[in-house]
């Protein structure tokens, strides 16, 4: 009895409020649509459209704080500077290489970790906690730790090598070894993120599918390729988009581990942008480089989205 009356009162209240509101404010459908869309549009404008347009605008300026001169429109001068800039090419190539190595690397390791965490352990939390720790660690801190690990004198890696009778390696003297050490650190850091997303995907797959497969006599391997992998495809693509974009923006780990060294052999595009803007105070060129990186990220995202669409059409 009480319940019904509350509902009735509540409904009555709502009706009265609506009547009151409509006296003051009675938009047609189009206006309402525009109004409902407005908060999102404002948010998008403030958070994305303005900063990006500002960035693109700055990339056309000759704006260097060390020159003491006011900003001047320079057209495409900043972009024309890039083809002749060897550090730009090196940094871009390093960034692409880091992406090509660490994205598949962290996917494979992350997948394995997710499968491990999905096993029917009695105690699930220690496994999941250990998955979470590398992800929760700040990037620069991870870089710092791995920098210590690979330090030629004090590092644990050389200590292990020496203990098993191998010679000391000066990791950061060799561009290749320094690069490998950086990729290893990134894979370590990024795998747990991949694992968590994939683990979430794994848990949405109904157990009944595997039970049915068991009845039909399908082995574990076949179950993996026929059930797990196809059903995880959308999850994997989402994880890959996130990972690829962060890989293109790689900064902290190489910055802390090698500072881009030896020389500029392990510098990334994000580090080069930072250097031009923060150290050299050349905001025009730095912005132009950032526009290039932004374009690269957009391109990659578009490719992935296309992949999702085509895979969606196939299934």
């Amino acid at each position: 009895m009480t319940t019904t009356s509350t509902v009735k009162n509540g409904a009555g209240g709502a009706t009265a409020r609506r009547a009151f509101l409509s006296r003051w404010f009675d938009p047609d459908d189009t206006t309402l649509a525009v109004l409902l869309f407005l908060p999102a549009a404002i948010l998008l404008g403030v958070m994305i459209v303005y900063p990006v347009s500002r960035l693109i605008y700055t990339s056309f300026l000759d704006l260097s704080l060390t020159s003491g001169l006011p900003a001047r429109f320079a057209g495409l001068a900043n972009f024309r500077q890039m083809p002749d800039d060897p550090v730009f090419w090196q940094a871009t190539w390093n960034t692409v290489l880091i992406t090509l190595i660490t994205v598949p690397g962290s996917l494979v390791v992350g997948f394995a970790l997710a499968l491990l965490a999905n096993l029917p352990f009695q105690m699930k939390w220690p496994v999941r906690l250990s998955l979470l720790i590398p992800w929760a660690l700040p990037l620069s801190f991870a870089g710092l730790i791995f920098g210590w690990f690979f330090h030629s004198e004090y590092g644990v890696v050389n200590d292990v090598l020496n203990r098993i009778g191998l010679p000391t390696v000066i990791w950061f003297n060799s561009p290749r070894l320094a690069f490998a050490a950086i990729c290893l650190a990134i894979i370590w850091k990024a795998s747990s993120f991949m694992a968590m997303i994939i683990l979430a995907g794994l848990q949405t797959i109904p157990r009944s599918l595997y039970e049915a497969a068991d009845v039909d006599g399908a082995g574990r391997v076949r179950q993996f390729f026929e059930i797990t992998l196809p059903l995880l495809k959308p999850t994997i693509v989402v994880a890959l988009i996130f990972r690829t974009i962060t890989a293109l923006q790689t900064f902290d780990i190489p910055y802390m581990m090698t500072g881009g060294g030896p020389g500029t052999e392990t510098a990334t595009l994000a580090m080069y942008i930072h250097q031009n803007t923060v150290s050299f105070l050349d905001l025009g060129y730095g912005s132009a480089l950032a526009v290039v990186m932004f374009g690269l990220s957009m391109l990659v995202t578009a490719l992935y989205l296309r992949m999702i669409r085509s895979s969606g059409a196939a299934s």
Binding site: I170, Q275, V278
Partner: protein, 413 residues
């Protein structure tokens, strides 16, 4: 209580709070000083405590940032580009006052510079205006183990070749695998710029003349080859490309280095309670290349007043104190930071605490400044990353010299 009364009371209360806040702020000036973390902040804190005691109503806090000169510059670049007014006084590496003044980040200070050492009076004067005041002088010196040189009857080397020979002789005699012949800065930090310039200058060459690039590629190749040679021949250790300024200081202090290239600050610590080499340290002029002149890099730090500071007058007063002869003497004795006043080099209190300062004035006075340009950060980057790449073995000295030349041509036109 009527609405009008409540609002009246609220207004009254608000007024009181604002008044209290305003008078509180007027009674006390809070200044924030940016000090480099390797610039011995503890010593400056003591001096700031004294300043606070003498100036009631002024509170000074220290902000630390970055472990190397370039990281500190990056930090200040970020803060000042963002027009942040929280820092009032900035400790700046001697290479930066010109650059900060060009960016409009420091306020001009009215001061007579004639009592300071000439190099610092010049480094802090831009277009006839004093843009910062000297904190302490510095230059690179050769630290050596007096006990070991005495043991093998060796003199402090006058040329880099003599140094290599001495290192070899001591290494052969000592048979201590932990003892390095020479430690210097090979990491891609500001110190590596000096690493490059010292033998380059020693050959009588300059980087810029009348603001134009005057680069000698052969001399640059020889300079890079000299340092790489030390690493290859085992005089310096193989991972020298990982070594920063304070690594050199720590290793020398631990007794693992025969010769070390370092700044004046390393002295006080090498004589401290935690030093394995207290009483066994000698300091000399940096060696020359064969047939060349002995040359060294001018260092030192300056006090600038941030143009964005809201306490201009108080900040300038504080800077004048921090740059005074009294403070210069205190930091010379307690931190082995070289004085910026010529007279203090003969002061008996100073020479008692740091005996080698008696001979240091001549060295500081002949030390060469790094290229002066508002685009110094780019110059520095081009040189230090190349030094690092050569020492790591990623580039040859000849290629490295060509790279430096190509990059400097784009920067200094």
């Amino acid at each position: 209580m009527s609405v009008a009364r409540i609002s009246k009371m609220a207004g009254w209360l608000f007024g009181c709070a604002a008044f209290a806040f305003a008078t509180g702020a007027a009674a006390e000036t809070n200044l924030k000083v940016f000090v480099t973390s390797q610039g011995q902040p503890g010593i400056w804190r003591t001096l700031l405590d004294q300043y606070e005691a003498r100036n009631p109503g002024v509170k000074v806090s220290i902000e630390l940032g970055g472990t190397t000169s370039d990281l500190q510059a990056q930090y200040l670049n970020t803060v000042l580009t963002a027009k942040d007014s929280s820092l009032d006084v900035l400790m700046l590496d001697v290479i930066r006052p010109a650059q900060f003044a060009a960016a409009g980040w420091t306020s001009p200070i009215a001061s007579d510079m004639s009592s300071y050492l000439r190099a610092y009076a010049e480094a802090n004067t831009v277009d006839g205006k004093v843009v910062a005041l000297p904190a302490f002088a510095d230059s690179m010196f050769l630290y050596y183990r007096k006990d070991l040189l005495d043991k093998y009857r060796l003199q402090p080397p006058k040329t880099w070749d003599e140094l290599a020979d001495a290192a070899k002789k001591v290494a052969d005699g000592e048979k201590n695998p932990n003892l390095q012949g020479l430690s210097f800065q090979g990491k891609a930090i500001e110190g590596a710029v000096c690493t490059f310039l010292v033998p380059y200058w020693s050959q009588g060459k300059v980087v810029t003349k009348d603001g134009k690039l005057d680069f000698d590629r052969d001399a640059a190749t020889k300079s890079l080859a000299l340092w790489k040679g030390f690493a290859d021949s085992g005089v310096a250790k193989k991972n020298i490309a990982e070594v920063a300024t304070d690594d050199t200081r720590k290793e020398f202090q631990a007794g693992n280095v025969l010769f070390a290239v370092n700044w004046a600050y390393a002295w006080a610590m090498s004589q401290g309670a935690e030093s394995a080499v207290a009483g066994k340290v000698g300091v000399a002029r940096l060696p020359a290349v064969k047939g060349g002149e002995q040359a060294t890099c001018l260092g030192g730090w300056e006090w600038g007043v941030s143009a964005l500071s809201k306490n201009q007058e108080e900040a300038k007063k504080l800077v004048a104190y921090l740059s005074s002869p009294e403070v210069s003497k205190y930091v010379a004795i307690n931190g082995s930071l070289l004085p910026t006043y010529g007279t203090l080099y003969k002061d008996t209190d100073v020479t008692k605490a740091v005996p080698w300062f008696a001979d240091a004035q001549a060295i500081v006075e002949t030390a060469k400044p790094r290229p002066v340009t508002p685009r110094y950060n780019e110059v520095s980057e081009a040189i230090r990353t190349t030094v690092n790449a050569v020492l790591a073995g990623a580039t040859t000295p000849a290629d490295g010299a060509a790279q430096i030349e190509a990059r400097l041509k784009r920067i200094i036109r």
